[in-house]
Amino acid sequence: MWPIIGICISLVAIVLFERPRLKKHKKDTWIFSILLFIGFGLSIAQSLDYHLPTPFDFITFLYKPVQFLFQ
């Protein structure tokens, strides 16, 4: 409960903080919003103890055939 409130408060704080810089270019606002959305989506999922997959599982899967070279 409290982590989500904290996340929402920091979301609002970040947007307010960056507003003057964002007002100049529209494209910057879009990219900022998309990245911020991804970031906060991930952090809400993490705070709700939802099991997010590790990117390193994907890398391990990719490089499994070549691991013997470094053993």
């Binding site: 970040i14 903080f17 960056e18 810089r21 964002l22 270019h25 494209k27 910057d28 990219i31 900022f32 990245l35 911020l36 991804i38 970031g39 906060f40 991930l42 952090s43 993490q46 997010l52 997959p53 590790t54 990117p55 390193f56 890398i59 391990t60 990719l62 490089y63 499994k64 070549v66 691991q67 070279l69 470094f70 053993q71």
Partner: protein, 363 residues
């Protein structure tokens, strides 16, 4: 936005701080596990290999000294392929930054702030990194200049106080198992500090002298010598088994120092050196990631992206390693081929394609 300007001395200093970076935490135990008492030999071989890789980076950087790595990608490969390759590099930088955050937070919660929640320490540290990145590269590098004498001085004091307990017999037998453990250790040693110096190709354009490549080389050499010193000190004082068992043997080295019953418990000084060097490593990585994203996405002011990327970095650092065992296993198995691909094979490809294009233009 005016591009930053730093001198070649400042560049060398920041390279040294980066190289010492998080390697000082994990290299002694990692190398000792791979090569046992020959860890110092694999450290030296790793440094030699790393210097060869630096020569490769210099060749790639010299293609066009005023472009960062990612802009260079686009010039060499064209817009679509260039942006795709840039995203590959950027994902590498971001994942690398998250492992650095994980290393630091792991160390702090294991030894110093034992009962603190991991998220809070990560948030505090990443906020600092975001703040520093927003202030710009010049400010950070000047800050590095100020802290550099302290890091070097404390490092020398730490090694000097530890050496009276040294037993040179801990280094014997030399090359007991042959070359295979040294190969394992050398590849690990190359991937942890030296291959990651690819990041500095993003900062090349900021250095306004012709001696950029030389500064990178010298910085890596000095940083590597510091790392080899640490490995030898850990092996001499703690012995092979002592170094392998501990997750952070250099911290334990600091704990063991008792100089004439007067100078004791100086392990906090060791922790301070680490926090400083990890901070600079993280700021360089985060700065490179942010301006990388800004260049690829066409954003004019990179400062806008610092907060969203900081939050993504925070969440990444919490999810990448479910536990310590996974981290150790990953660092010694899958991270090696991954960083070799990104930091050796891709730059080689870029150089080859650039040469072929130049020949095609001349013909």
């Amino acid at each position: 936005m005016e591009p930053p300007k730093i001198s070649s001395t400042q560049f060398t200093i920041i390279v040294i701080l980066f190289t010492i970076g998080s390697s000082i935490l994990i290299i002694p135990s990692g190398l000792a596990e791979a090569s046992e008492q020959d860890a110092w030999i694999s450290g030296i071989v790793g440094l030699a290999g790393g210097l060869l890789v630096i020569i490769l980076f210099n060749v790639l950087g010299k293609q066009d000294l005023s472009l960062t790595l990612l802009e260079n990608c686009e010039v060499i490969l064209g817009k679509v392929l260039g942006k795709g390759l840039s995203f590959v590099f950027l994902s590498f930088f971001l994942l690398l930054a998250s492992t650095v955050v994980w290393d630091l937070v792991n160390f702090l919660t294991t030894h110093i702030l034992i009962n603190s929640p991991i998220e809070v320490i990560s948030i505090l540290f990443i906020s600092l990194v975001i703040f520093a990145t927003r202030l710009g590269l010049e400010t950070v590098v000047r800050c590095g200049e100020i802290f550099f004498p302290w890091v070097i001085g404390l490092f020398c004091l730490w090694i000097l106080f530890a050496l009276p307990d040294a037993k040179f017999t801990n280094l014997l037998p030399i090359m007991e198992d042959g070359l295979r453990p040294i190969w394992k250790g050398a590849t690990l040693s190359m991937s942890i500090p030296y291959l990651q110096l690819l990041v500095f190709l993003m900062i090349y354009p900021a250095v306004h002298t012709k001696k950029t490549g030389k500064s990178l080389f010298i910085g890596t050499l000095i940083g590597g010598l510091f790392l080899i010193t640490i490995i030898i000190a850990c092996l001499l004082v703690l012995g092979v088994n002592g170094t392998i068992i501990q997750s952070h043997p250099s911290y334990i080295l600091g704990k063991k120092i008792s100089f004439g019953n007067f100078i004791q418990r100086i392990e906090v000084i060791v922790a301070i050196i680490w926090m400083l060097t990890i901070f600079f490593k993280l700021v360089v990585l985060f700065y490179a990631t942010t301006i990388g994203f800004a260049q690829v996405l066409g954003v004019r002011d990179y400062r806008i992206l610092t907060f969203p990327l900081g939050i993504i970095l925070l969440v990444l650092s919490l999810i990448i390693f479910p536990n310590d065992t996974y981290a150790n296993e990953f660092a010694t198995t899958s991270w090696l081929p991954y960083s070799f691909t990104i930091c050796i094979i891709l730059p080689l490809l870029l150089i080859l394609i650039a040469k072929i294009r130049k020949k095609a233009h001349k013909a």
